[in-house]
Amino acid sequence: MFVAKSLNAEHKDLIHDVAFDFYGRRMATCSSDQSVKIWDLNEEREWVCTASWKTHCGSVWKVTWAHPEFGQIIATCSFDRTAAIWEESVSDSGRGIHSTWIKRAGLVDSRTSVTDIKFAPKIQGLQLATCSAGGVVRIYEAPDVMNLNQWSPQYEINCKLQCSCISWNPSPSRLHAPLIAVGSDDPNTSSGPKVFIYEFSANTHKWNRVDSLVSISDPVHDLAFAPNLGRSYHLLGIATKDVRVVTLRPVKQESAQSQGNSMSFEVRQAGQFDDHNSTVWRVSWNATGTILASSGDDGCVRLWKANYLDIWRCISTMRGDTVENVAEADSSGGSTQQMGTASTGQHTARYFKLAPTAHPAHLQWH
């Protein structure tokens, strides 16, 4: 069962990304209208836009939040070949708290569109990875976490293929070296694997490519490591021509020469699903890494979950309706909608129940 509530997006153009802060109580949206909007959940659990500003001179592809331990910080990347770091500054103007977002740094090293940007897990400090259409992955770091004005480009990795997406392995274990997965949407299937795994070696201070997923040669549009809660292996969700779930199990290399600095992975495909029957554009995990959401060209968003035997299956599908059968209950906020006999009680008014499309195989108890 799901209940839904709606809000006006307010962007003037296509929304490219929505990102939530660590607690899921703040939301950032970015759009082709070159702006970013910040939304906060108010006490009535409604999303209220608290800031909106022009961030770039081109479409803003992605937006991402830093861990709140570092403060209220977001990073954006854009078609204008730059990435930027923004920090919230709160001032009490007497008439309520006012928040403004201040540009702390612009990252201008890329010569092509910056297609994705992600903060590293907090255990690695304030680090940021970007990837570009030119195929370059850059890792930046703010050496002094109290000074966001200084970001130094630490590493540059040339992937040789245009990059579309990047993900840090969020494993909180210190036993795992920092790991990054990069996806390429190069349309040419003959150009080889489209997902690369890079691992940071503390000994050589270098990022080394430790794997390329040979099973994936179609363009990859999005990928995401699952949050790791006590698993011994890493889980990677991939959006390509279908949905893939891949496990990476670290294998210690036996040879003494390697000194444990080159980890190799046993890569296994835990799931491959063509339910979307078309290109899959985005994947995203919930906070515990138990549910994967995929969005495809068939207009559906599907939720995937593994059972106790680690067999993945689709648990829900969401699709839009062609018929607009929702009466607009209000014109201003756009947050209140009623459907059918949905209750009008105080607390439930903002939500409406979603109607399940009857499934013949689903048994009802009542």
């Binding site: 962007h11 839009g320 062609t322 009542h366």
Partner: protein, 659 residues
């Protein structure tokens, strides 16, 4: 296609703007934000015409379930108590007492469900009575649905209890099944009352049906009672049937009769029934004849009374009661299939039937699986699986249940953890989920929105109890950052110290010093006066703490100590350079004291830093507007005079003392 995908449901967003490409982003534990993404992006800037004409909406989806209803809150809160006490009781109990513990706990769960069902019923009836008060029909409907779900859960759980947990001897099983039927089909019991209270019971239209119903449920005393109200109760046929009913043997677990003996007695009794039937004892009354036929286990007669039994499982138990008194678990599979066949045209097989059938087939795993498919939350399956896991635990290895139990516990706990007021319950379950439970507990704690200081304290307490150091530090850091951004420097220092974050506390300490320089006030001076050993976390913090100490000494008139401290602060290089002017200004009154409190050595130190300071100030041409800095420039000359004056005095003084 994977058959397990069949359970996936499709949900429709009633918005045509979403009828194209849309994108879903998960957040928190189970929420999803959907937003439209109509065009193909392909990383080229596009001139846009979309969005302008129509309002683009985003949709937030949250999982919901009857378990979130107010009625179910008791269910959640009480079942966690039973769950926890079960875990301890089972580890403490002797192996041969395990079953007794499990039966007790299973009954506790059942009574929790029953109580909830009763509450729901009362509420629904209360609502019914004041319907005109604008109560919504949908809540009423929800309450009825909830009652139905609760009833079915209890029905399943009690069957599971008697089939898998409370297993004693073969004869016992039938008794248990009969009791189960009696409990869940109380309609004859109710009718009995109505019939007996009527003026002339035997003329009541339900008279005979109630007798049959009572017999079919093995309530033979009830049947005899009703029969005794018949005007011809003392005629031979009535006395004869009464004797048969009275004499029917029931197996007693502690009756001292072996199963074999019992079976022989029972056979003897039934052949007596058959004999009397054949001899025509009841030829005068077809009603009594029907009763006797039931006693003889005549399937046709029993089947004819189908409408008194409603379900195939009632039919099955009633049939077994008069045909197979020592039925064993492995017979039930066939018996239930038979009963369903005999029922067929009268009943559709529902999801509930599948669950019960799986139980009759002694397939625990299938029971859990079937339950899982019809429930929109894992409350029931989690507790059921836990019970079954403990039941089979000591009876040898079971491959499926341990991982399944952990999976379900995690699933249930995850669901609770996402709820703003139930996350503490989630932690209690996660304590019993091994390493993955620990990991999820840490994650769940960290992700709790920290809405207030007391909320932060609560999280820290819960984390400390479980020795989640990382969580404690993380919460403190977040709180510190928040305090800093709100300008609450004292609180920021406090949180920074708790998280032992040197860089952060230094930063805040600098801010406090700057603030002091500009307005001459200390943020949270009491806190700073009681830093204790924590001040050693960073140099700046140490300086800040010591500098406060100096103030205290000065105020208390301990000038000599204060002077020594002040000079040591300067000479140890603990003081940040921008703060030197303040220190010199602080030294001024001490320098001017009648009795010299600053020694010549110390005066040289002060003169040295004054010199460095004026040089650097001139070099860099700093234009600091801080109040302390301005007044320093004003008083530079005065300080110089005071220094020379003090030096002279100190030298004389020191010379005198030496002599």
């Amino acid at each position: 296609m994977d058959p397990s995908n069949d359970t996936a449901q499709t949900w429709t967003i009633p918005d045509s703007m979403m009828n194209g490409r849309m994108c879903g982003k998960t957040f928190s534990l189970g929420s999803i934000m959907l937003f439209p993404q109509q065009e193909h992006t392909n990383y080229t800037d596009m001139a846009s015409e979309s969005g302008a004409q129509r309002t683009v909406k985003m949709y937030q989806l949250e999982p919901s379930s009857w378990l979130w209803g107010r009625q179910a809150r008791k269910l959640i809160n009480e079942s966690v108590g039973t769950f926890l006490s079960l875990q301890t009781a089972i580890t403490e109990a002797e192996p041969d007492r395990h079953n007794a513990v499990l039966v007790k706990k299973c009954r506790e769960y059942r009574s929790i469900i029953q109580a909830c069902q009763q509450d729901t019923k009362n509420l629904q009836q209360a609502n019914e009575n004041e319907k005109q008060n604008g109560k919504e029909p949908s809540t009423q409907e929800d309450l009825i649905i909830l009652q139905d779900i609760l009833y079915k859960m209890e029905l399943i759980l009690s069957l599971v209890e008697l089939l898998f947990i409370d297993t004693m001897s073969d004869g016992h099983l039938l008794n248990q099944l009969v009791k189960w039927i009696q409990l869940h089909f109380p309609q004859h019991e109710r009718k009995k009352g109505v019939v007996l209270e009527s003026d002339r019971p035997h003329l009541h239209p339900d008279y005979w049906n109630t007798v049959y119903g009572s017999v079919l449920q093995g309530k033979l005393d009830d049947a005899r009672l009703i029969l005794s109200n018949h005007p011809s109760a003392d005629t031979d046929p009535f006395l004869s049937i009464d004797e048969l009913l009275r004499k029917m043997p029931f197996f007693q677990v502690y009756g001292g009769v072996s199963v074999g003996d019992f079976e022989a007695r029972w056979q003897h009794w039934q052949s007596e029934c058959e004999r009397r039937l054949e001899e025509g004892h009841f030829a005068s009354s077809h009603n009594l004849q029907a009763i006797c036929k039931i006693l003889c286990g005549d399937l046709e007669t029993i089947s004819k009374l189908m409408n008194l039994m409603d379900t195939w499982y009632h039919l099955m138990v009633s049939t077994l009661l008069f045909t197979k008194p020592t039925v064993k678990l492995f017979h039930l599979s066939n018996a239930s299939q038979d009963a369903i066949l005999r029922m067929q045209d009268q009943q559709v097989i529902t999801a509930l039937d599948h669950v019960l059938l799986a139980a009759m087939e002694a397939d625990m795993y299938q029971v859990i699986k079937e339950c899982q498919q019809v429930m929109d939350n894992p409350w029931f399956t989690t507790h059921l699986t836990d019970l079954l896991y403990h039941t089979v635990q000591h009876k040898g290895k079971h491959q499926v249940l341990p991982p399944l139990r952990e999976y379900l516990l995690l699933d249930y706990a995850e669901m609770l953890a996402g709820h703003s007021s139930l996350w503490q319950v989630a932690l209690l379950y996660l304590d019993h989920c091994g390493p993955r439970g620990m990991a999820m507990a840490q994650e769940a704690l960290q992700r709790l929105p920290i809405t207030s200081d007391s909320c932060a304290q609560k999280i820290i307490q819960m984390a400390s109890e479980r020795e989640f150091e990382g969580v404690v530090v993380s919460v403190c850091r977040v709180m510190g950052r928040r305090a800093l951004s709100q300008g609450r420097l004292g609180a920021a220092i406090w949180w920074g110290m708790r998280s032992k974050d040197a860089a952060f506390t230094s930063h805040v300490a600098h801010q406090i010093l700057h603030k002091y320089m500009s307005d001459g006030h200390f943020e949270s001076s009491t806190l700073l006066d009681h830093l204790g050993p924590a001040m050693l976390l960073s140099d700046t913090l140490t300086f800040l703490g010591k500098y406060r100490e100096f103030h205290v000494m000065y105020q208390e008139g301990r000038y000599e100590e204060a002077a020594a401290l002040l000079v040591s602060l300067i000479s140890s290089k603990l003081a940040p350079e921008y703060f030197w002017p303040v220190l010199l200004l602080d030294a001024l009154p001490l320098l001017k004291a009648k009795e010299p409190v600053i020694s010549s050595e110390q005066t040289y130190e002060l003169m040295y830093i004054l010199d460095t300071l004026t040089n650097t100030t001139r070099d860099k041409d700093q234009t600091k507007n801080e109040a302390a800095h301005v007044s320093f420039l004003d008083k530079e000359k005065e300080i110089r005079v005071a220094l020379t004056h003090n030096l002279a005095q100190a030298i004389i003084h020191e010379g005198t003392v030496e002599n």
